[in-house]
């Protein structure tokens, strides 16, 4: 069996790898690295853009709500002013009407 094992050792010696293997490996490594670096940059840029868009959207929504609130407040104030003026006019008229009645009596 020892002789057979010796035959096996000789038969199973390592074979030289094809010369193209290392070349292909180094090429693949060279092309993969810049691509992965570029890909990382693209991902970062996309993340920044997305964050900016979301942030901008939130700020815009907040300002829009403030603007609408202010417009509503102005409308209420205008309505109150108009009502106040109408009431004042009505009071003036009523007072004038009362004076006329008293003078007639």
């Amino acid at each position: 069996m020892e002789e057979f094992e010796q035959e096996l050792r000789q038969a199973f010696e390592r074979r030289p790898a094809p010369t193209s293997l290392k070349r292909r490996l180094m090429e693949s490594r060279r092309t993969r690295q810049p691509r992965s670096h570029a890909f990382r940059l693209q991902r970062l840029a996309a993340a920044i853009l997305l964050t900016a868009a979301l942030g901008g959207g939130l700020v815009w929504r907040n300002r829009e709500e403030q603007r609408k609130g202010e417009a509503a407040r102005q409308q209420v104030l205008t309505a109150l002013r108009i009502t106040n003026r109408a009431l004042n006019q009505m009071n003036t008229q009523l007072a004038a009407h009362g004076r006329v009645q008293r003078q007639g009596d």
Partner: protein
């Protein structure tokens, strides 16, 4: 201390490409597939280079991943129902006889006919000169299983060799008697 070691990818390729390629070829019996496996293994090593702690770790890692990738490739081929050794001869035009002695070539062909677990144990034992304990660690199998695979594989291979190489054995016997 182990972390003082700085892995150099190109140097690792130079040192181990022959080992990785030979393991893959003997496990799959297909030169083209072995090249693909070797390329994948080294590219995976490149991605994991930061986790490699020493030269011995790199060698262990390469052997383990090569055997695992080869087994995966074999399983895929079995599903496709291909005869690997025949494919090697037909598609790649590689004549093993040209390269080694007739007995060596025949032994490699016969190796391809052994069950995968026995083939893996024999390749690591006789190509890489590893102990059963080292083979067990590489294949992530119990030492007893590896020893059993080695014994059975060796016995089976010898029996097949005796059947297929009667002329060679007879020649050796004549030479011994002479």
């Amino acid at each position: 201390m182990a972390h003082d070691w700085q892995p150099d990818f190109e140097q690792l390729v130079d040192e181990h490409q022959s080992m990785v390629f030979s393991l893959a070829w003997r496990m799959t019996g297909d030169r083209g597939l072995a090249e693909e496996i070797a390329q994948d293994v080294f590219l995976q090593l490149d991605r994991h280079l930061g986790k490699i702690e020493s030269a011995a770790h790199a060698c262990f890692w390469l052997r383990r991943v090569t055997m695992s990738r080869s087994a995966d490739a074999l399983r895929r081929r079995v599903v496709r129902g291909l005869d690997l050794w025949v494919e090697m001869e037909e598609h790649h035009g590689i004549s093993v006889v040209e390269r080694t002695s007739p007995l060596g070539a025949r032994l490699e062909q016969l190796l391809a006919t052994l069950p995968e677990s026995q083939r893996a144990a024999l390749v690591l034992r006789y190509q890489e000169d590893m102990t059963p304990e080292e083979i067990a660690a590489t294949l992530q199998a119990p030492v007893a299983t590896v020893k059993s695979n080695l014994q059975r594989g060796l016995k089976l291979l010898r029996a097949k060799a005796e059947n297929h190489l009667k002329e060679y054995v007879r020649g050796k016997e004549y030479a011994r008697e002479g």
